[in-house]
């Protein structure tokens, strides 16, 4: 199954093999769920939005021309749907509103350090507390291996903005790791 490309699966679905849609779901459900949950921070809502996203994708598949990668297109739909859900629930996404500069001041890395088992867990917890867009940029770039241009398409911001967010988030994480003796080098 891993050898079948996304485009081949999509072609098959377009030809009427609806059951092949489950292959796309299996391939992307975890990453999509993770992205949505990073915005909503509620598993129940995230699961509901995940279902909505895949239904939207199914019904829009006939309009998907393959100009961008399927994953980029899927993530953009997920990001927008999750934001709409957050707004509809009038939920104040603090981390979304907060700028990374405020974050640098207010973050209590010692507290996160105490509840972390190791540095991998520490990084995970820090990412969880970063402003949503900043953590998403890092995840999409390093975990999903999206390019700057693809990330800008997903988040609906310019490539320059993505680059700035990536640099600042990376530097912040680096400084916090050094501060807690996880990266034993002093940069400055």
């Amino acid at each position: 199954m891993k050898n079948i490309s996304d485009d081949e699966i999509i072609d098959s679905i377009k030809r009427g093999n609806d059951k092949d849609f489950s292959l796309l779901i299996d391939r992307y459900k975890d990453r999509t769920f993770s992205l949505i949950d990073r915005i909503l921070k509620n598993e129940f809502d995230s699961e509901e939005v995940l279902q909505d996203v895949f239904l939207k994708v199914y019904y829009s598949l006939k309009n998907f021309k393959g100009e961008s990668k399927f994953s980029t297109w899927l993530y953009r739909i997920s990001f927008n749907t999750a934001l709409t859900k957050a707004k509809s629930k009038s939920r104040k996404i603090e981390t979304e509103m907060q700028s990374i500069d405020d974050y640098e001041i207010t973050i209590n890395s010692e507290e996160i350090f105490k509840i972390s088992d190791d540095r991998q867990h520490f990084v995970y917890k820090l990412l969880d507390r970063l402003p949503v867009r900043n953590s998403l940029v890092l995840i999409l770039f390093y975990v999903d291996n999206l390019t700057m241009s693809e990330i800008s398409e997903v988040l609906g911001v310019s490539i320059v903005n993505v680059k700035v967010m990536l640099h600042r988030s990376r530097n912040l994480l680096r400084d916090l790791l050094i501060k807690n003796d996880y990266l034993r080098v002093n940069y400055e």
Partner: protein, 174 residues
């Protein structure tokens, strides 16, 4: 930001050319620069190993089931529309047949209460008059037969739509 940091950032952003990479390598003879690169790579490695949150069990099944139910809802809407179109068609056909019969009666007996109304309607435009002149006793019979045939075809079509709906409903319930 010095030149080394700039090149390091370009390297980390995966946007570095071969010439710039060679230039970066030259900077790496300095121990502190090499450490910076190693630690930056270490950070990258830590981020890239961040675990992705798993979906709850049966997510794929749940989505496929919801998809099936949505499609069923769509097909019901489609069937309702087809039914609405057919009912409207039959209704219009009945009006037409009724008018034709009334006109024929009026033509032969001249005693129908709709006499003046029909006369007004039919004479109000040239098109109506053309239709009126085309309707004779024989043509009314032909129209009746054709209408009956259309009604039968319509009934068969509606029956098939209904059967297809029931089939989809059973598939969904199973």
């Amino acid at each position: 930001m010095n030149r080394f940091d700039q090149l390091l950032n370009q390297f980390l952003d995966k946007e570095i050319s071969q010439t710039e990479l060679d230039e970066l390598n030259e900077y790496l003879t300095d121990e502190s620069n090499r450490l910076k690169l190693i630690k930056a790579s270490e950070l990258e490695s830590l981020i890239s190993k961040v675990e992705i949150k798993k979906t709850p069990n049966n997510t794929t099944k749940k989505i496929m089931a919801r998809l099936a139910s949505e499609k069923l809802r769509h097909s019901i809407r489609g069937s309702s529309f087809a039914l609405w179109v057919n009912v409207s068609f039959v209704f219009l056909l009945l009006i037409f047949v009724g008018l034709a019969v009334l006109s024929a009666d009026w033509n032969s007996t001249n005693e129908i209460s709709f006499h003046s109304f029909n006369k007004f309607i039919l004479k109000s435009s040239e098109l109506a008059q053309t239709i009126y002149s085309a309707i004779t006793s024989k043509s009314v019979v032909i129209i009746g037969i054709v209408s009956s045939l259309i009604l039968i075809i319509n009934f068969i079509f509606n029956y098939e739509v209904h059967r297809s709906f029931i089939r989809k409903l059973n598939q969904h319930l199973n």
